[in-house]
Amino acid sequence: MTATESAKPTTAQTNGQTNGQSNGTHQIGRSVTRIDALEKVTGRAQYAADLFLPGMCYGVFKRSPHAHARIVSIDTSEAEKMPGVVAVITAMTLSKDMASVVEEEMHATRKVVSLFPNIGEKVKYEGAKVAAVAAVSREIAFEASERIKVEYEVLPPVTDVREAIKEGASQINEDSQPADALPDGPFAGHPIYNVAGQNHRAEGDVEAGFKAADRIFEDTYVIPRAHQTYIEPQTTVADCAPDGKVNVWTSTQGHFATRSNLANSLRIPASRINVHGMTIGGGFGAKFGGIVDTYCVLLAMKAHRPVKIVYTRAEEFLDARPAPGAVITVKTGVKNDGTIVARQAWALWDTGSGSGGCYATSRVKGVYKIEHFKLDAYDVNTNKPAPGAYRAPGAPQATFAGEAQINRIAHELRIDPVELRLRNMREGEQIAFKETLSAVAERAGWAQRTKGAHEGWGVAVGEWTNGAGPAGALVSVHEDGKARVFYGLMDITGTDTAMAQIAAEVLGIKYEDVTVSRGDTDSAPFGTASGGSVVTFSYGNAVKRAAEDARDRILELAAEHLEASVEDLEVSDGKVTVKGNPEASVTLAQLGQMSLRSRNGPIVGRGSFSSEPSATTIAAQIARVKLDPETGQLRLLGAYGSLDVGKSINPMACEGQMEGGLVQGFSWGMMEQMQWREDGRNWNPGLLDYRVPTSLDFPDLETVMVEQPTKNGPFGVKGIGEPPIAPGIAVISSAIADATGVWINEAPFTPERVLAAIKSKAS
């Protein structure tokens, strides 16, 4: 295992390698320039909104102004009469079997929700879709949507999960049955209402564990909903040909996932749908389809013309799939020497009108050996949009609860929080928890840390195991000796680049001599969606196998040509050479040409991967903060992150993931929160009021990569996109506690909350 420190702030050093003379055998571990960088810096990359088709119309939605209401009537006649309007759809215009939308996500079960509420049915959050209109211009479509008249019977809303579980609270999903009362915990003794999902788990015997403990800690943590805030809003263009073929150009993390969602929602065979995955302007878990694409296709079907829908930023906040909020109570029993003996958690996840949150509660246990563990967790309906995945879904929330309390325990027991973690961490094959934590502690100078007035240090770790999914790839070698990778991967984080590096490594050519192309769903082999940190692990295996298959063909051709046996050959620097005889060689270009006339034809390697388990990884992070005692304003003086990446294919891209994820995690603790008023209206549906970090909010980040390879990953790769977001909230809360002596258990730690904490300490 090795640890590599990023050379900050002189990233240029790594880039030196980019322009250098690479030798054919070290394509892995090079910080090469992203394969798509040129089209992105020149403005040529095509995002879904950049597409203009002949005859294209624009779709907009009619939305509910109420958070909770029953639809009494919908009148679309005025809208339909407007010149320029080409299609209006509501629940009434859709056939029964097209009345629902299916959303598939990496971490939630498949969700089926009704496309629009019908007369007598309910809207369950402000901004819920009631109808959609397509017209020849956006202005006409908007005007028409305004002319749709909807009559509502307004119902009382509920926005706080702690209220929603009580008897007598507004019942949001009418078919939901109350859950049985729990024997213990913060909401014991009463049935639990508005339940949309449950998760219960027990290991060992927590009661016995707590009895054996010297000290018991119990705290309740509150985490708000956060929006992924990709800068490119949800966007789709759809067109339906007269023969029934549906073409969809969309901003998606997985065009095959989008295709299957559409096929299931529209009840048409997948073979009749071709999804073109456009360059994606950020997704972070929220772009798996279902939010606009289904509606866009239905409008296009009805209009017999292409239709484009681009969400506005306000629509993003009102009606997309943000991360669920949560209220999590954690009880932990420890020995005086810091050994954790038992842990129990009770959680209410704010899943709005949908479900999908409580499954993540097990992350409260963290990376520790804990003999006795128990959890009872619920998805609770409120009058808010259904939740979706956001980078390591559920982990930042549950990790905040688990890790903030670990820090409080360390503080109370007067044990260093890094030391307390090292004492309790799990160990095992392919796991490098301790090394990863130690690496960041060393980088930050944790052991020698000092602090000035109103300054504090915080530390936390977050665990994650990447998913894996089916992926296919083709690698062909052309007559010029260069290789092409073809597959159905949606690149967000730079994975096309990593795949080119993997193919180059196997074929003994330079990364620069590999091109990558993504097929639409009609042409590409199946590929799993880019979410769950699956890509480099899964497609990496597929591409590696495809490249190896191509290499076998190359060796076979070369053996014939050089009259040598395959075992005596080696491939590097773009040629095949007989070992020990550099004179006897043939270039890949020559072999590419020969292959065309050969018995078996052109060189095409195939590789497929289904699913194999990965090993778990952690991100460990440290922050140094300074508080303004007058305003409560928090300033980051230092931010440090380490991550066990398994094996780094492209160190610059790994750093990019570590930095981007760390910033998202920290900022959830510092500033991000979606807010709803008591009447159920969204309070901050815009970027002015929902704050995400600007370039001024963070200092230069320092990152350290640890490499503890996993057996099943290509070259030892672990999935790394998600874990860096996990520890952030806990890191910040602990740094504030270190500075103020007060543990703030409700995120984000806004100036108001920090100021209140400082004042409470003073009084």
Partner: protein, 194 residues
Amino acid sequence: MRTLIELTVNGQPYPIDVEGRTRLLDALREKCFLTGAKEGCSTGDCGACTVLLDGQPVTSCLVLASSAAGKEITTIEGVSAGEVLHPVQQAFMSAGGLQCGICTPGMILTSIALLNENRNPTRDQIRFGLQGNLCRCTGYGKIVDAVEVAAKDMATRENGHHMEVKTEPDTNPAMAGPAQADATGGQAPGEKGR
């Protein structure tokens, strides 16, 4: 009420018809088919729609198209000269200053304006100058790196060590074809912003 106006974008004239309320962003994207400027919010908060107006960065979602007539407009499509990239573009590529790329055109244009004002900015000055451009992917560090690298590169060139920056050595032409005349508008890129 529709009126005919002429926009000068990247040195080329674009006669287009607009309504009084047509935003510069829509005129560029939907009339000139220059889609490099992106729409992230429409309220002036994200900076994805940034273009240069007489060399100054503006959020084109808040500018009326008619008010931009008679001014020099530079979009990302006009930043490189043929296959020769602007040093800022080059630096965003080599320093890893982009991931999803949706903020990149705005970031690059703002950075160019920043470097035109201050050839040798500190990291804090770069952060200050970029505060109106949101990036959700990178955490900003590598973007600041990129602007620093570009500043050094520009200084080297001005000191007489002029080097042609070719796109060829570290890119994959087939995936990301060389920057060339803008295909949608059919116009050759101008020299603006260099």
